[in-house]
Symmetry: D2
Subunit: 358 residues, 4 copies
Amino acid sequence: MSNLIGNRFRVLIYGQSHAPSIGAVIEGLPAGFTPDWDAVRAFMARRAPGGNAMSTARKEADLPEILSGLNERGETCGAPLAMRIVNGDTRSQDYAKLRDVPRPGHADYPASVKFGGANDIRGGGQFSGRLTAPLCFAGALALQLLEREGVRIRARIAQIENIFDAPMDYARPDLDAILSGDLAVVDSEAGSRMRDAVLAAKSDCDSVGGVIEGFAVGMPAGLGDPMFDGVENRLARAIFGVPAVRGVEFGAGFAASAMRGSAHNDAWRMEDGRVVTPTNRHGGVLGGITTGMPIVVRVSIKPTASIAREQESVSLSRGENELLAVRGRHDPCIVPRAVPCIEAAMAVALYDLIAERG
Amino acid sequence: MSNLIGNRFRVLIYGQSHAPSIGAVIEGLPAGFTPDWDAVRAFMARRAPGGNAMSTARKEADLPEILSGLNERGETCGAPLAMRIVNGDTRSQDYAKLRDVPRPGHADYPASVKFGGANDIRGGGQFSGRLTAPLCFAGALALQLLEREGVRIRARIAQIENIFDAPMDYARPDLDAILSGDLAVVDSEAGSRMRDAVLAAKSDCDSVGGVIEGFAVGMPAGLGDPMFDGVENRLARAIFGVPAVRGVEFGAGFAASAMRGSAHNDAWRMEDGRVVTPTNRHGGVLGGITTGMPIVVRVSIKPTASIAREQESVSLSRGENELLAVRGRHDPCIVPRAVPCIEAAMAVALYDLIAERG
Amino acid sequence: MSNLIGNRFRVLIYGQSHAPSIGAVIEGLPAGFTPDWDAVRAFMARRAPGGNAMSTARKEADLPEILSGLNERGETCGAPLAMRIVNGDTRSQDYAKLRDVPRPGHADYPASVKFGGANDIRGGGQFSGRLTAPLCFAGALALQLLEREGVRIRARIAQIENIFDAPMDYARPDLDAILSGDLAVVDSEAGSRMRDAVLAAKSDCDSVGGVIEGFAVGMPAGLGDPMFDGVENRLARAIFGVPAVRGVEFGAGFAASAMRGSAHNDAWRMEDGRVVTPTNRHGGVLGGITTGMPIVVRVSIKPTASIAREQESVSLSRGENELLAVRGRHDPCIVPRAVPCIEAAMAVALYDLIAERG
Amino acid sequence: MSNLIGNRFRVLIYGQSHAPSIGAVIEGLPAGFTPDWDAVRAFMARRAPGGNAMSTARKEADLPEILSGLNERGETCGAPLAMRIVNGDTRSQDYAKLRDVPRPGHADYPASVKFGGANDIRGGGQFSGRLTAPLCFAGALALQLLEREGVRIRARIAQIENIFDAPMDYARPDLDAILSGDLAVVDSEAGSRMRDAVLAAKSDCDSVGGVIEGFAVGMPAGLGDPMFDGVENRLARAIFGVPAVRGVEFGAGFAASAMRGSAHNDAWRMEDGRVVTPTNRHGGVLGGITTGMPIVVRVSIKPTASIAREQESVSLSRGENELLAVRGRHDPCIVPRAVPCIEAAMAVALYDLIAERG
C-alpha cells in the first residue's frame, strides 16, 4: 500500500490537495494513551504556511478532526485512529491548464501517464505538499510516544542554497540549541543570511533548495533489522515519502566516500558503564541496527519546482513544445516547512521500531 | 520480513558467512522463463573476490545450486525458485575474540545487543558482504527479465577516495562506455589512479570508500507510486540492503540543495513523439513515478570497516576499553565489488515495478 | 494491519459503533473509473437495519460521504478513496455496565484484556456489526468492477435455525432465482418459515443463527495462488472479518469428509470449447486456483449473542459471578443483514485477484 | 507472498514434489534458542508415509538439513533459519500424461491455465502434499516455543467417512487421551472401524475423507486482532494452506447455525480467580481475540483426489473428453497424515500471535 508505512505502528495517508479532505488512519497506537492535542496542534502549526514572506499565501487552518479511535474517556481504544483535515481556500481554476502542459520538475506528466489522464491535477493532487499535514499529525503522536521512551527527535536546517548553518556535534548534539521560529538553525546569523537568500530567489521569481539534518537522541541500542528492514532502509522509506526529497544519508554520509577507514571508523569506548563512540560518523546505525548513539540523517531538499518564471514544457494534446508560466501560490523555499515533516517521518519510522520491540 | 524485498517479484535472502549455506528464495518469476545460467554465473563472477590485489584472499566459487522452481524442461514453473551457495574456505577461528571486543564500524556490538549475544559472529554472520551473492543471483535474473522489456541497468564507480571518474550525461548515458574489468569507470586513467589509491591504503593497513552511480535506461514512464512506494523509496530500500551504503541520492541529489529552481528543473520537450527532458537532474523520477528518462541513483559506500591497524574498542565482558587489531581477510576497498551489487539491487527493485504493472 | 485486506485492491476499515465516524480507505481502484453511486447506496441499503421486525430499532441512514480519491470529473484519480459514515442515533449509556460485566458470546472480555480496559465498549466499539457498513461500501465498488469483468456475485440464506432453503445447482446456480426483499432465498415458502422462526426467537427474548451461501459466477480459470494465498485462504480471511461467522466451507465442504473420492471428484468435460465440470463439489477452486466454475462458499453465522434474557456473567472488578440482562437494540437474527456483507467480503477478495492479474 | 505466512514468526515454504529439494525459511525465531532436533524429527515422522497399509508406498526419509540460522553453539542466531529436504525416490514418468489430461479433483488444470502450461506436473509439483513436510518442520519448532509459553497443541481424527470418534470436552479437552500411533483418536474401537473404512475404500480403488479437530490449550486471553487478523482469520489462512482442506469451523461451527443464542452463548464464570466458560461453543475466540479457553478448530479433509479407478477427464490438446486412470502412489485416506499438518499449521499461526505480543 503505497500510502501506508510501518510494521506495527502503521500510518495510512489519504487525500488530495483539493479533495474534500486529507487525513490519516493510524493503527498500532498503544491502547489507553491520552494524546496531548495541544502539542499535536503546535507541532502541526510548525508545518502550516506561516504568516511570513517565505511561504505560500494559501491559508490552511489544518485543524485535525478525529473520526475514530478514542473511547469515551478520550483515550486510544485499540481501534484505528482516523482523522481528517477539511480542505479549504482552494483555487482549483489555477490548475486547469496543467492537464495539458505539465510543470517542469513536477509529477504532472508521469502521473498523467500512470493514471491515464485521470490523476487529480488540482493543487498537485495527491502529490501536493499538503499531504505532509497528516504525516505531521501522525508524527506528533509518535513524538509523544517516543518521549515516554526517552527518545527525542529534532531537525534543523543545515543548508539553504550555499549558506551553511554552524556544525553540530553528531555524538552529543545539543537539540536545545536549535532555534524555534521560522528558521530552525543553531546560528541565527546564518539563519538571517538564509532568509535573505530565500527572499532574493523569490524576488527573482525563483526558488532555492537546502539540506535538513535530523537527530534522534535516546534510541536504545539493538533496534532494527539487517538487510532490507534496517534503520536506514526504514528511515529512507519514510523520508522519501516527503515531496522534494532527493537524497538521504546517514552520519558522515557521502563524505564517507572520500575517507579512509581509519578516519571514518568510530572507536568504541566505555562511558559510565555504557558502550559509546566519542565521534558519530556512523550516525547511530551499524548493520541496520541502532548502536545507542544519536541517529543522524541528512536530507537533500530540492528547490521548489513551481516557479513563476516562464519555463519550457510541452502540450501533451498537441505534441508540441510550449512555454509555461506556473501560477498559483507556492513557497520560494520549502525547507523551513519541511523541517517538521522530516521530524515526523523520523518519528513515525522510529516509533515503529520501538513498537515492534513490544 | 527484513530479509525479503519486493511486492510482486519478491526476493528472500538467507544465510550467514560461515553457515552451511547462503541463498535466496524468489517468488514472482514469470512462469515459462528459461534463465540464461551462463549469464547468471558471469554476473555473479563480477562480485566474487577476484584474483587481484584489491580484494580479499578468501576464495569463493559461489556456484549457485538450484533447489526448486524449475519444471522438467528447465523453465520456471510458478513455484518459488530456491537456491543455495555452499559456504567453503571459512576460517571461523579468526572471529572468536570479536564476541567480546566488537570491531569499530561493524555490526558486532549492536547485533550482540539485539540478539542477546547469540548472533553469529563468524565472518560477520548475516551482516557479511557475502550475503550480496544471493542478491546478485536474484539481480542477474531480474536483469534478464528487464532486458526483455527493453530496460538496461549498469553502474560505475564515480569516485574512490578523492579521485573522480569523468562525468556522464545523465540524460543520455553511454552505458557501453563503462569499462568492464576490475574497475567499472569510463575514464581508464582515473581508474588507474583509483587503483593506486586502493593499494596505497592497503599498504597503510587502511581502506577507502567511494561512490557508485547506477543507471537504468529504458524504464517506461508511469511506473511507481506516490508517497512511500515511490521509485526512490523502493530503490533506497533495496540499496541500503547492501552493506556499507551510507547515502542514496537521485539525479542531482544533494547538489540540488544548493541550486535554484530555474537551474534545477528539467524542461519538458517533445522528441520523436516522446516527452523527454534534455537534461536529467530529476534522475528519471518525479513524485515517485518514472518519467521515462534514465533513472540515475548515486550511492555512497563507506571505507571497509575491517582494517588491520590497531583500533580502540571495548571488552563487553569486562566493561573496559581495549585495543583491537582485526584479523581476517578483507578488501581494502569494496567499491569495485559493490558495483554489481548495486546493479542487482536496482534490478530487483525495478523489475518488481515492471512485474506489478502486469 | 488487522483492519486492512487485499494485496492490490486494498480496503482499510476504521471506526467504532459510537465514534464520530466509521469508514474505509480504499487503495488500488483503477484510475478513471466513475462509480455508480446509486448502486452503492442501494447495495448498502440491503445491509442497513430495515423497517421490519427482524432487525434492530436503531436507525442508520449510513450515507457515505466521500473524503478523497476523485478528480474534478468525479472519476477515481489513483489516490486512495476515503469515505466516512457519520454515526448518529447512538445511546452510549446503554453500554456503561458492560465494562465490568462482559456479555456472554461477545468480545467485551477478551477486548478488555487485550486493550487493558481501554477498549471502546460503547455499542460494541470496533467489534460492532456496524463496521460492516464500510465493508459493504467497498464491496459495492468491487462488485461494479467485477461486473465489468463479467463476474457476478450473489449470496442467499441457505438455512436459518433448522429451516433450509431449497437446494441450488452449484455448477449452474440461477442467481436470478434468489429473491430480493428482506429474505434472500429461492423458496419463498421456506423464507416464510424462516421469518416465523426469527420472530418466535424474538418473542422468547432469544436469537437464531443460520447459513449463508455465496456464489461468484464468471471468475476466469487460473486466478489465485497455491498454499497460503489460495482463493480459499483469501475468501476465508475476508469472510471471517464479518462478525458472527463461525465457519467457512467451499463446495461440498464438510460434507466431503463423509464422501469417497469417486463420489466427490468432479469430472472434467469439454463444453463449447471450454473445460467445465458437470458437478461442482470442488466449489470452483482447486489447489487454491480458480477452475472457471462458480465459486461456492458456505458461511456459518452464529445466533446473535446479545439476547434480552438474563445470562450468567462475571463482575471483572469484584471477581464474582453476576447475572446480566443485555439492554440495547439488537437483531434477533443477523443472517438476513449479513447476506450483503458476505457478498461484499467475497467481492473485495475476488476483485483483488482480478486486480492482481493486471 | 503466497508461500509465506506470519507477521512476526514468518515461514516461507518452497519446493515441488520432484524438484531437487523442498524446504522452508523461517524468520522471527527468538535468538538464543536451541531446538530439540530429536523432537523435530519425531514430529515430522508422524507426517511421513508410514509402513502401514493406509499410506503411499513412496519412501520419504525427509530428514531436514539445516542451511543457515544457527550460531557456532547450535543456537538460533537471529538470521533466517533455512532448511531443505532432498527429494528422493521420485518416479517422474508416472506424471507425463497429466500435462494433457488433468486429474479430476486436482490442481493440474487450473495450474496449467495459471502458469501457461509451465507448471511442474511431476508429483503434483508445488501442489503436492509433500510440501507439508517443511510446514511440519516449522510447526515442530513453533510447538517447542509454544510449550515454553505453556501452550499445548494436539489434533485428533474426529471423523473418517461416516465413522465418528467419541466426543471430547471442548472446555477441558483431555489431550493425553488422544492415542498416538497411526490413528489419533480417543476411542480405539472407532479407530479400528476407521481403519477398516480406509482399507475398504482402498480395495475398491477409492478413497475417503474425514474431519480433524485441533485443540490449543493454554493460550492466554487477549491475543489476536479484530476484523481481518482475528485468530480465526489467521488459523484459516494457515489451515487452508494444507492441501485437501475444504472447510474450517471454530467451536460449535456450523452447528451454531441451527442454535438459538441462549443455547449457544457460553456463560462467563470466575474459577480460581480466572474468567472461564464452563462450556466452549465459542472455541476460545470472540471478536478475533483469544478468551483464554482452549482454541478448538475443526477441519474438513476431502477424500484423496487421486484414485486408481477410471475417471472422466479431457485432453487439453485435443479439446476432447478422455478417460483417465491415475497411476502413481497415493494414500487412500490422507486424514491420518494430515493430523500433524493441522497441528503444525495451528502452531505456526498461534506462535506468531505469541511472538507479536513480544
